[in-house]
């Protein structure tokens, strides 16, 4: 295996798998200007994935400026003094690279995938636009139209997306997770160059970023290159902590109904406010992940067993836990009713199934099956350098450490069965929003 800079950071399967078969040696270090660096060697293909992650997302936006984190992500492709508009993308394309960027509630990330000999070039360009972005109204104005088209495509034309947006807005009464990442339409329309640059100057700095390089490289090489490129960027002194509006403990169950003539297939959704990996007590978020798997697995999950196979009130039923978040986040249920079954009937059946689980928990076989799948997915993920890089980036920008990511499969294995049953107390209707997606009466 590759050289290990920091001790003990070896990504292997769970201990029950035996020796560190196929282990990946992960390195992490910090440059003098505060930039955190993670290196994930994978020497099977002469390719690298280069990602820069900023600890800044939609939940860090100022009030009244929803969408600015995502709009800035688009504008980051508009050039710098050293490399005017389009030069970075043209260079990536010419080198046969792929590139893109994405914005979430808690982070914004930029990446390129290139042949390994081009890593330095990518680092030079990316370090340059960390501090050197130049914006003019001539590039900002058409890009605002692009973002509005993106919103029309992803949300305004899709009733189920509109319901999801309305449910999140109801689930968070005060916290900014209640606003859509792309932004509310009237606020996107008023975002301008000054808003983008203010967000950029506040958050885009080496001491607020994480560099992740995965692929055919060693930590020593990456360290030298990072010092020569990103190392020159000056840190922001007195970087303000990420302070978000606090979400109060919920007291009222909420219900949101979206009725649209385009809906031919009704859907039931439920979201609960739950702790995230960053806010949960030790083991609690892992228990919620196991719960989502044991309840929601496509065929063997308890919801599918009861609602689809036995009672035949649904054609599909699943659950999810979005625990990778800096603040309390969401656990969800999704079910599609059988023909002739109303959403009220389906909702009652979901609640009965939840009550049964709260009463008698899960069998040993159900729990082991859920853990096996979660741990196996972590092993399968090691086959993909870009999936690994994304996993570490999302974790580190939401308050977790490299060690926590590495230990995750083992922590999953160690969760006792009664902790999974206990995690069900978070699925209290007072903490929830129920969403109905329905058509209009003919």
């Amino acid at each position: 295996m590759g050289e290990m800079v920091s001790a003990g950071l070896v990504l292997a399967g769970a201990k029950s798998d035996g020796a560190a078969e196929g282990a990946v040696a992960i390195s992490e270090f910090r440059l003098a200007n505060g930039l955190d660096v993670v290196v994930i060697p994978d020497h099977r293909t002469p390719v690298v994935t280069h990602m820069i992650w900023y600890r800044a997302g939609a939940a860090d936006e100022p009030r009244g400026k929803t969408g600015i984190a995502h709009f800035l992500e688009h504008l980051m492709f508009k050039g710098t003094k050293a490399h005017p508009e389009g030069e970075f993308s043209r260079t990536v394309a010419e080198l046969g690279g792929e590139e893109n960027a994405f914005t979430s509630n808690d982070y914004t990330a930029y990446f390129q995938r290139v042949a390994k000999e081009h890593l330095r070039t990518m680092m030079e360009f990316e370090a340059d636009r960390m501090r050197g972005l130049i914006l003019t109204d001539a590039v900002v104005d058409p890009e605002r139209e692009v973002v509005l088209e993106e919103r029309r495509m992803r949300t305004d034309s899709v009733p189920s997306s509109q319901l999801g947006e309305a449910m999140a807005a109801a689930a968070f009464v005060n916290h900014p997770y209640g606003a859509p990442i792309i932004g509310w339409k009237p606020e996107i329309e008023s975002l301008n160059r000054a808003d983008a640059l203010a967000f950029y100057r506040r958050f885009y700095a080496p001491n607020n970023a994480i560099l992740i390089v995965a692929g055919d490289v060693e930590a020593g090489e990456v360290k030298a290159l990072a010092e020569e490129t990103y190392g020159k960027a000056s840190p922001t002194p007195d970087l303000a902590p990420r302070m978000r509006a606090k979400e109060p403990q919920p007291v009222a169950a909420r219900k949101v109904v979206l009725s649209d003539e385009r809906v031919q297939q009704p859907v039931l959704q439920r979201m609960y406010l739950t702790p995230s990996y960053a806010t949960a007590k030790p083991g609690e978020a892992e228990a919620l992940d196991i719960l989502a798997q044991a309840m929601g697995a496509q065929s063997t999950g308890r919801l599918n067993q009861r609602l689809v196979l036995e009672r035949k009130v649904a054609v599909s039923a699943s659950a999810w836990y979005a625990g990778t978040a800096l603040d309390d986040h969401l656990f969800g249920i999704y079910a599609v009713p059988s023909q002739g079954v109303s959403l009220e009937q389906l909702e009652a059946a979901v609640d009965e199934t939840l009550a049964e689980m709260a009463e008698s928990g899960f069998s040993e076989a159900e729990l082991q099956r859920a853990k096996t799948r979660l741990v196996a997915d972590a092993i399968y993920q090691r086959d993909s350098q870009s999936a690994l890089a994304r996993n570490f980036g999302a974790a580190l920008t939401t308050g977790l450490t490299v060690a926590q990511v590495i230990d995750w499969p083992e922590l999953i294995e160690r969760v006792p069965g009664d902790e999974v049953k206990k995690a069900l107390h978070w699925l209290d209707k007072k903490r929830s929003v129920t969403g109905y997606l329905i058509g209009t009466a003919p």
Binding site: S89, L95, R113, P142, V146, V147, M153, S316, Y380
Partner: protein
């Protein structure tokens, strides 16, 4: 940069390590051994796909793909899924226009059971009435969800207009009318005519040696019929020369456009790949991207791509623009296709396209599943095992005359088919 240098830097080393293995009973596969991670990825396909659905019964292949893992051999649906989940085995089937395909992913320690479950699903599916009704209900729920979804409507309308009275023209998943009457006999007869050794291609990547693999191949595939009984599918040139509008109350019009394309074996296919990259290929530099998105802010996404379907290849693309500017988007796209039709490409633009296409080839080979998919596709397209070392040289050899020739052949806007779903103004 010389062509030779490009080829050297971009060689997909893991794919060039592929070798052909043949089992004692004659089942062939392409294998890349990779022991870095304790997993094995398998991809395989039978010739056929949804174009083998019986006349008037679209949706049979799609339904079959959803039923093979719903109980087989000694296991009913629940037991089969519990077995897969207990061992964390991923087993999925899919049908596209030309192929019925399968994918298997397993941890090394469970690979014997994984190949056994694959064997059962191919040879002894149970098709129990309960499972059939349940999977049909899921498909119907999906079809109802798509009934007012602009992209799905546009896709289906494009296929119907481009390939009238042909298997390519009917909805692959079937319709709300055609799915309910599909019977167990329909599934069995499809399975018998399509699942055969003759049209089968297999690719395997990961933690498995040749000796173990050939035994597994015999177990999973050797007992299939030697020859398939496929229905002949007529070759067609996609029909265009018109615009179809479908009214839907959405704020944005979905625009799908296309032209007849080229077969994978056509001598102009590789030049067409380079030409399409310049027109609307997958980087932030194509002409459509620059004109539609960057300069005018008309859309979030715009692209074109080649689909070398076996019986009617196409070159097609899509975008979405607010209703007020949908006409402008169609004009800009048409003008760009027209503008490229004379083959007017600068030496710099051609050079950059070739550099992208050769340089990015290695990116397709960085996970076991992706390598297996490439190995399978090369077999389905009958490109030979040397394709992976040959491919970049073929791209590098394309010159301006090649682009001009293929642009003239393909980019005739009079043959263009455009489908617009939404409420375009004007």
């Amino acid at each position: 940069m010389t062509a030779a240098a490009m080829v050297v830097t971009a060689a997909p080393v893991r794919a060039t390590a592929a070798r052909k293995v043949i089992s004692p009973r004659g089942v062939e596969a392409w294998l890349v051994e990779d022991h870095a991670n304790p997993l094995v990825a398998v991809q395989f396909a039978f010739t056929g796909g949804s174009s083998q659905d019986p006349q008037g019964k679209p949706g049979v292949a799609h339904l079959l793909s959803g039923l093979l893992d719903e109980g087989a051999g000694p296991y009913d649906s629940i037991a089969f899924h519990e077995k897969l989940e207990d061992l964390a085995i991923d087993l999925h089937f899919d049908a596209d226009r030309d192929y019925f395909s399968g994918t298997l992913k397993t941890l090394t320690k469970n690979r014997d059971e994984a190949f056994e479950l694959l064997r059962l699903s191919l040879h002894e599916p149970r098709f129990e009435p309960e499972a059939m009704e349940r999977v049909k209900a899921q498909i119907m729920a999906g079809l109802r969800r798509e009934a007012k979804e602009p992209n799905a409507i546009a896709r289906n309308a494009f296929a119907a207009a481009g390939f009238p009275d042909h298997p390519y023209g009917v909805p692959q998943k079937g319709t709300l009318e055609t799915v309910p009457p599909i019977t167990r006999d329909d599934l069995e007869s499809y399975r018998r005519k399509s699942f055969a050794r003759a049209g089968l291609k297999i690719a395997v990547v990961g933690d498995i040696d040749e000796k173990t693999l050939v035994e597994a191949l015999d177990r999973a595939f050797a007992d299939l019929a030697s020859r398939a009984g496929l229905t002949r599918v007529e070759d067609r040139v996609m029909r265009g020369g018109e615009e179809r509008k479908i009214d839907l109350p959405v704020p944005q019009s979905v625009i799908v456009f296309g032209l007849p394309g080229l077969a994978r074996k056509d001598k102009d296919y590789v030049p067409a790949v380079v030409m399409n990259h310049i027109l609307g290929g997958g980087s932030f530099t194509s002409r459509l991207w620059t004109e539609v998105r960057e300069k005018r802010g008309l859309a979030y996404s715009v692209y074109s791509s080649l689909s070398p379907f076996k019986h009617g290849p196409i070159l097609a693309g899509a975008t979405s623009t607010k209703n007020e500017r949908a006409r402008e988007s169609i004009s800009v796209i048409t003008a760009e296709i027209e503008g490229l039709s004379g083959g007017d490409v600068s030496a710099d633009e051609l050079d950059k396209a070739k550099k992208y296409l050769t340089g990015s080839f290695a990116l397709r080979f960085d996970t076991s599943t992706k390598i297996a998919r490439e190995l399978l596709q090369a077999q389905l397209d009958d490109l030979g095992m040397d394709y992976f070392s040959r491919r970049n040289e073929e791209i590098a050899a394309i010159d301006a005359a090649d682009i001009a020739r293929v642009a003239k052949r393909l980019l005739d806007t009079k043959r263009m088919l455009v489908v617009v779903v939404g409420q375009p103004v004007g």
